[in-house]
Symmetry: C2
Subunit: 363 residues, 2 copies
Amino acid sequence: MFSYIVNCINVVALCSFTGMNFNTITIRDIAKALNLSVSTVSKALRDSYEISGKTKKIVNEYAREHNYQPNPIAQSLKQGHSKSIGIVVPSVANQFFSQVINGIESVAYEAGFNVIITQTHESFDREVKNVDHLIHRSIDGMLISLSTETNDIEHLKRIHQQGLPIVFFDRITEEIETHKVIADNFKGAYDATRHLLDSGYRRIAHITSPPNISITKERLAGYSQALAEAGQETPETYVKYCPHGGRDISEIENALHELLALENKPDAILTTSDRITTTTLFLLNKFGLKIPEEMALVGYTNTTMADVLNPSLTSIYQPGFEMGRKATEMLLSLILNKRPVTEFETHVLPIQLFIRKSTAGRK
Amino acid sequence: MFSYIVNCINVVALCSFTGMNFNTITIRDIAKALNLSVSTVSKALRDSYEISGKTKKIVNEYAREHNYQPNPIAQSLKQGHSKSIGIVVPSVANQFFSQVINGIESVAYEAGFNVIITQTHESFDREVKNVDHLIHRSIDGMLISLSTETNDIEHLKRIHQQGLPIVFFDRITEEIETHKVIADNFKGAYDATRHLLDSGYRRIAHITSPPNISITKERLAGYSQALAEAGQETPETYVKYCPHGGRDISEIENALHELLALENKPDAILTTSDRITTTTLFLLNKFGLKIPEEMALVGYTNTTMADVLNPSLTSIYQPGFEMGRKATEMLLSLILNKRPVTEFETHVLPIQLFIRKSTAGRK
DNA sequence: TAATTTTACGCAAACGTTTTAGTTAGAGGG
DNA sequence: CCCTCTAACTAAAACGTTTGCGTAAAATTA
């Protein structure tokens, strides 16, 4: 790979850039221009009862005409909050999480908050660093979905105890009591497994995230329950964990090889997460296995392309956008609440199972 | 759709949240504890020559022990910059842009900058609002990819003239002289069209973004050039513009209907953008057209799934991550540069054409 | 020893707000 | 005419830093 450079010379460029405050008129400028004190102007702008209607009108008109906007940095410093919320996600380049972020952004934006996004790339170290970074960025609250490597959540407990509002979404923890939003993971896996069983599959494998994160447990439970109802034990050899949730293709390749090497090899696979699902589909195709004849596949994915995959993919869709919205609404309520909140809820959003050809039964 | 609520009561939760400054030790606290002046402490921490080695050591040790972190808000206010950069993109829930953001974040993070992401959803109004919002958030620089609706860029000219560093990526403008990063759009469309011609297709349609944005023009030029070299005029009826770049499925549905209603209907389609490409594929499948027999398809997309689509999709891949990195590096150089920059470059990144079954020729 | 320089620190202003505690002028009451 | 009260405003401190300037003491020089 190489790349071209096109150079061009700019003749002018003389405006001296005075830090962030270019073109910015301050409250002090208004005061001077109107022969008022700074505090009068401030109060007039904030519609204080202490200021006469006449003065308010003059000040507000001048402010509007000169496009005055309060400096949010100064406001933050004075008021002790920054009107920004921190987001910690595994990766933005992931269908599900980018939809969540979309939802977060839409609510935050409306409320005048801005968001600071950080990615863990499924690394615990990175998660700790990101949390630390956000804290010192003086965020007013945090939205977080744990990394696959995260077992210890001391870094979150500490700041939560110190009063930072936190809302967990998707990959949550039991160890901190606060608002949480998840999809109905149990039902997602249950419905999918049930669908496979109903379609005549009997040897159903499960390729999933590491066992420590919440979604894995919940989904495993749904899978087990469906099997149990069909009179099956949960076959240990059929459950494969990907240490980094499929971040590396080798994780899934290994899992698949192991499954295919089994004496009694599976006739269907249930996968979790966008990454694992699409990679599994890719590998099955690569291995030349016919789907669904030789191997059925149902997976969690938020891609809009499930319909045009080869074969079209039976999938569990999670309401990512809604999750982002809800989590942010909860966080804002925590932030804006005057007195400490003592009652928390875990909001469970419904999932949807879309049945397509990758599980076209054998009945 | 409905959803469950699980309530739980939290017994404690008494820590009064004191704004953003929970647990935070200030420079003043250090000064008091060490019986020094505030300025001495500040200078010691910043390793000023004015402070003796002994004092520096004492101060730094105390700071480390008590986990002192400077308040970035106060620093921003004082120093006139906020160590944050604003991003304006059409949508984060888009393969290409989320990869770009990933690249942006990786560079910005390393340099200690944080990013504020905003989405235009292809709306001009929203773009203007976002830019305004970012300005008043005191960003130190801006990374922007124009919305499809954007024709007038006064809102950007103004702030650029006032000295805000801006770097354009992907959808750029000629009207502002600054650093820019794009993919080699001409070559992408040229190679794709050329490949179709070489594979025996002769009636090649082009479904693309609106004609006002840069990528559309560049790609159209590449498409035309390839046709010209094959002795073809650019057929006006074969070029279809989607006003919102495929945001709404109807845009593409209409384009497709018009193309298929043509007397001399096309035997191949070149699409641009993730959204247009995948939707086109979806619709062609829905219409029951055999790909590539009845209609070949090559499209711009950054999905990792091109291989497992039905059929596997010949596609033009743009280095999104690299684009984000490069744009951010350029922006940081602009921000960090002491004297005004007068020489700008437009960096062109190479694209890659992946040939798959959706264009399996008719030779 | 006196003059000068250097070292190492403190003081105070500044960034742009918000807010507490005054202050002034005028109105109203007695 | 004095007192009190209120309306409408101002002064100043504060948020947590950074930084130019001042200065005492120590070190150096003459």
